[in-house]
Symmetry: C2
């Protein structure tokens, strides 16, 4: 059963490097994607929360995805976020991905209106699927109530999977609650449940989860990939434990100050490329004193 | 002092009628705008929360504003919402409004990321103003934490007004707390504080407020306009009280079920035009039984 889950593996919620004009820097980005795949990521979940996607225009998002494909990254390894507040823009972004051969997308619910009914959330996704009308499409639902403020309830997931068999194949659960992820695995056999927090991938895999889409993998992709590939091998238990410990340590380090800015700071230091620290408002780079504390040996 | 406030008066947070394809219906919309102005509104705050703006694409928003201008509605009476999640789209929408001669806009802070610092909110607005770079621009800040989840704090307002004198002339306060509106009036002389809730316009005017941008004015524009024009005239006190009572009653009626859907249902009934009830997901029309209860005599 588990082998049929889609998507399955370690996917990096890729950071988006910016140029001096605070626009996505395509060259730095595609180099980062290649590095992540070389380190063992199964794919790149670009244009998500960690990637500052909702601070970019539709055109900027499309151009970044085109750049990744043009750089030779296999479309089946790209999982772009295409869910935005406006129904018609979600449709446009999803169609655009499909036009590039990118068939699996991560889709937020519309996130401006709050207190939306389950009927409203269902109708939003249903309307998108019907308008896109492409049987190739595979959607990873995106449950991240701390940002979207629109949780994806079990009844909504159930209705969507019943109404569109084969379309809603996965869910990224970024709420940070392992029990919720486990409940998803139990309630929806065949649904690929992906942890949104790096330390939780391992316990979730042990319960039948499909992997992760996470932020710290920008830094520790090799360790996460190792955990994913060997977690069930008793002969590698000690190595898995050591890799998991490094993942947890990296996550804790990146959570001491603002997470996304911290990840960019740490990556900039590793690559010796100060340009990587830029962020687009409302996100800001770490203040100098925090950056210094973060990077202190 | 009060006469110099800008904007000042009764502005309708206009509903957006939709066609069968759930796209904005320009003909119904411009007819609605004309009716609102005839009923006494000083202007139309289109493309706001009540207008479902964040469910429309950038192109749909621009087309609706163009339709209003093309229909002969004076640009100085139009206050479109131009603040979205993506910095570059906020810039594009604001520039587009200016290109049509529409110089006063209502601007949400970027609303995807939560827990954003004051520095981040300030940087967002500052970057927009610097990129738009048009001295004609007048911005009404939009404080609606129950939807944006990004409150506009007093220090941010102060910094923006100091850094861009003459640009941030107003604030729409939709948090529903009269004490907060009064505190804004007191703290920022010269700032046009506009109530986001119809019943609160009158008490706010008595404390030096500038008027309102409200949803119920889609139904009771004449009464609100009467209250605005005569609230300080002792000879009209009884009439003002009666008009205010009708405003409060309409607001209460529209708040019994989902507010935006209720307003569309009530307007559809008044105009005998069922097409007015359509909403774009995630918003949905009232269920039939709620609509019947709402319209029961």
């Amino acid at each position: 059963m588990s082998a049929a889950l889609h998507p399955r593996g370690v996917f990096c919620a890729a950071l988006t490097p910016l140029g001096e004009d605070l626009a996505p820097d395509h060259a730095r980005f595609t180099a980062h994607c290649r590095r992540l795949l070389e380190e063992g990521c199964d794919g790149i979940a670009l244009l998500g929360t960690t990637g500052e996607a909702n601070s970019f225009s539709t055109g900027e998002r499309q151009a970044l995805l085109e750049a990744a494909v043009a750089a030779g990254i296999a479309p089946e390894r790209l999982l772009p976020g295409t869910g935005v507040a406006a129904l018609t823009e979600t449709v446009a972004l999803t169609r655009h991905a499909l036009s590039l051969g990118v068939t699996t997308v991560v889709m937020l619910p519309p996130f401006y209106y709050k207190g939306v009914s389950d009927d409203g959330v269902f109708a939003s996704y249903a309307e998108v699927i019907e308008r896109v009308a492409d049987p190739r499409l595979r959607v990873v639902l995106y449950h991240i109530p701390q940002f979207s403020a629109v949780p994806l309830t079990f009844p909504v997931i159930e209705r969507l999977r019943e109404r569109f068999p084969g379309t809603f194949t996965g869910i990224k659960d970024s709420a940070g609650d392992l029990a919720h992820m486990e409940a998803l695995v139990e309630r929806f056999p065949g649904l690929a449940v992906l942890a949104g927090a790096d330390p939780l991938m391992l316990p979730l895999l042990r319960r039948g989860g499909a992997g992760c889409i996470t932020a710290t993998s920008n830094l520790v992709a090799a360790d996460l990939a190792f955990v994913f590939r060997h977690f069930s091998d008793p002969a590698r238990a000690a190595e898995v434990e050591a890799a998991q410990a490094r993942v947890v340590a990296a996550r804790n380090q990146a959570s001491r100050f603002a997470q996304m800015a911290s990840l960019k700071t740490l990556l900039a230091a590793r690559l010796d490329d100060a340009g990587w620290t830029r962020m687009r408002p409302p996100m800001l780079p770490l203040p100098a004193e925090e950056a210094a504390a973060l990077l202190a040996p």
